[in-house]
Symmetry: C2
Subunit: 186 residues, 2 copies
DNA sequence: GATTATATATATCAATCTGATATATATATG
DNA sequence: CATATATATATCAGATTGATATATATAATC
């Protein structure tokens, strides 16, 4: 999916600044996708130049102006067109997997060259992290204002349910099978 | 993990060409990590220049020479040092998650702007893909020669078991809950 | 039998993206 | 009172990808 479509999609949930879009990537979207500031800000500028979004500058005494972007009708149209195109490309591509870079799995793969105590800590920290993630996905209380819209999306309940189920399976598997990883060669 | 450490780690399983390393990323490693030719070839050249690997040129009548790299003692030492450093960094970083870019989840997220029939195909193809993946992870028969070594790593049985469990959970969840995604706004 | 597609094999590079840094201030923490 | 973190935008060197070039063998399709 193009960065433009993704930014428009997030702005379709309500007006937002670049900083707040980044917060969505760091927060609820962090397990599925991310873009850096170096991509977000130039993308918003180019979307504004082409009238896909409008921008209101909120001067905040002494802090840099907060630029709040609102998606336009033209922007909504482009977003829908692009999403349909992206879905069709996804289907045609034959590539239905996700792009993953997992430091954790690389460490597992080469674990025989890593001291047992170190690998133990790696596994313990991963388990702790997953437990935290599980809580996050199950948590149903209030969230900060700028993250509220995404939380209320219907598709997001489906995704959160899926993520919770996957993490629970992962945790159970690791508890039952981590003894298989003992013993290093060197 | 640095690309150098990763390439050395794969060469520690046995001598290999750059092309064969790429095949590992396309095959058994594809769900955990990947590097492109544009990264692999220059990395191997620099590892060779610094004597971390040696290289034997197998001239094959009319095809480009196959350059088979073998990890040296110096290379094994660097690999182990780096792996220990990487594991320690992983622990200290506080960042225990994986880096993921999932076109599928983005399409789910914005599914209300995508026609029902299109999303249906997206979900069907994803399910088909996951069923295939599951078979792959459970398959215990013979694999092509250059992929044999990684298959026989102890840690890989742990990883394959985990992956199978996760995919099964994902498939079950999607079967039971995909009805929740029906109905689009537009 | 001819053509097309796929596999083997390395190499290079424009375009893209990230991670770091710069700038400036407010607020929380120790 | 000093330090760290959060808000907020912007930029860019360096790293990475995805595409392309080169060359041939083999398998599939027509």
């Amino acid at each position: 999916m193009q960065k433009e479509t993704l930014c428009l999609g997030l702005l379709s949930l309500g007006p937002r600044s670049g900083y707040e879009i980044k917060q969505m990537f760091e927060g609820p979207l962090s397990d599925f996708y991310s873009l850096s500031f170096g991509t977000i800000y130039p993308t918003l500028n180019s979307l504004q130049a082409d009238k896909y979004v409008s921008c209101k500058q909120h001067s905040q005494s002494k802090k840099p102006d907060k630029k709040v972007y609102t998606i336009t009708k033209k922007g909504m149209d482009l977003m829908k067109d692009n999403l349909l195109g992206d879905a069709s490309s996804y289907i045609r591509s034959g590539n239905f997997g996700d792009q993953i870079k997992s430091e954790f799995f690389l460490l597992l793969l080469f674990s025989k060259y890593i001291p047992n105590e170190t690998m133990n800590t790696v596994l313990n920290e991963r388990v702790l992290y997953l437990r935290q993630k599980l809580e996050q996905f199950k948590y149903d209380g209030p969230v900060p204002g700028n993250l509220d819209a995404i939380r209320n999306e219907k598709s997001v309940s489906f995704i959160r349910g899926l993520a919770s189920a996957l993490i629970e399976t992962g945790l159970n598997y690791m508890e039952k099978n981590r003894h298989l990883l003992k013993k290093k060669i060197n």
